[in-house]
Symmetry: C2
Subunit: 207 residues, 2 copies
Amino acid sequence: MMNDLQESPVDGQRGPADHNIREQIIAAAYDHFAHYGYGKTTVSDLAKAIGFSKAYIYKFFDSKQAIGEAICSNFLSEIIVTLEESVSSGRSATEKFRIMAETLTDTGVFLFSNDRKLYDIAIHSCTEKWSSSLKYIENIEHILARIILEGRESGEFERKTPLDETCRAIMGAMKPFVNPVMLQYNLDDLPRDKNEMISLVLRSLAP
Amino acid sequence: MMNDLQESPVDGQRGPADHNIREQIIAAAYDHFAHYGYGKTTVSDLAKAIGFSKAYIYKFFDSKQAIGEAICSNFLSEIIVTLEESVSSGRSATEKFRIMAETLTDTGVFLFSNDRKLYDIAIHSCTEKWSSSLKYIENIEHILARIILEGRESGEFERKTPLDETCRAIMGAMKPFVNPVMLQYNLDDLPRDKNEMISLVLRSLAP
C-alpha cells in the first residue's frame, strides 16, 4: 500500500522532490506510527527508530504532520483511483451513486478493521483538516458532481436544485459512513443504515 | 437547568428514590464536572469536593457514570420538552420537521458554546451509549415518526417507503448536526449545511 511514489508536492515537504530518502522516511514512519500510534509519536522518536538525526529528517519534512500528510496523501490517492474504477463500472447514474457510497464505506470499514493505526492517522487528517484530507474530499465531490450531472442528463435525477447544493447535501448525508471520525460510531447496523441512506438520497434525487 | 426533579428511575441509582441527598450529589457533581471535566474526575474527587465519604455516595449511585446519567437525563428531558413545544407550533408536517431539525441543532450549538463541560458529558453519554442517551434518541424518533405520519396523512409526504425505514434514514441524515460527537466537527458552515440537509430530506419525502 505504501509503495506508490508521491508525485505531487505535499504541504510541509522540503528538499529535492524525488529524493529517495524521503520515501524511506515515509515508509519507516508508517511502520512506527502503525506500532505506536500517530498521536503518541514525536519526531525525536521517529529519528531514533529510523536511525537518522532529527535535523536530517527536518531536511525533508518540516513537522510530524508533514510526514503524516505524505502517508495520508499516498493512501487517499489510492482510494480515489479505486473509487474511479468502481464507479465507472456502474451502468446508470443511480448505480454509480450506489457503488460510490458503498466503496467509500467499505474502504473505511476495511481500514478500521485491518489497519487501525492508519485509520487513526486518517482521523487526525480529518479533524485537523490536513490538506491531504481536504484534497480527498474535493476529489470525492468531483466524482459525485459527475454522477449527478450524468443522472440529470439521462433524466434519472431532478434538475431544479442547484448542482453545488445537491452535492454538498449528499456529501453531508454520506458523512456518518464516509468520515472516519463518524464511521467508527456507526458500525453497529452499518449495512442496513448505509443502504437506507443511499435510498433516501436516491428518493431526494427523483425527478 | 439542574433544578428539575428526577422522576423516573435511572440506571445505576440506588437507595430511596426521593432522597434529597441524591439531588445534592447530582448538583454538586454537575458543578465539579463543569470545572474539571467528566473524564478527569473520579468518585473520590467528587466525594472530597462535596464533603461526603465515597461510601456514602455509593449508597446512592453505583458509579461515576450513574451520576453522569442522572445529569444527562435531567437536561435531555428538558430538551425533549422544549422540542415538543417548538414542534407543536408548526402549521404543517413540513414546517414541523424543519423546526425539529433546527431546534435540535440550535440546542447542540448552544450547549457547545455555553456549557462545554456539559457538552463533554453528552459526548460520553453518546459514545458510551448510556441509557439516558438511548432514551433521548428514542424520544426524538417518536416525535419524528409523528411528524412523518402527519405529513403522510395530509398528502405532504410520500407513503411508499416503510415508516421505520424513513425515520431511521432521516435520523441518520440529521446526525452530523444532532449527534454531539459529530456536531463539533460540522460547525464551520453550519446554517447553510443544516438548511441544505433539511431541503434534501424534504425532497426525499416528496410524494
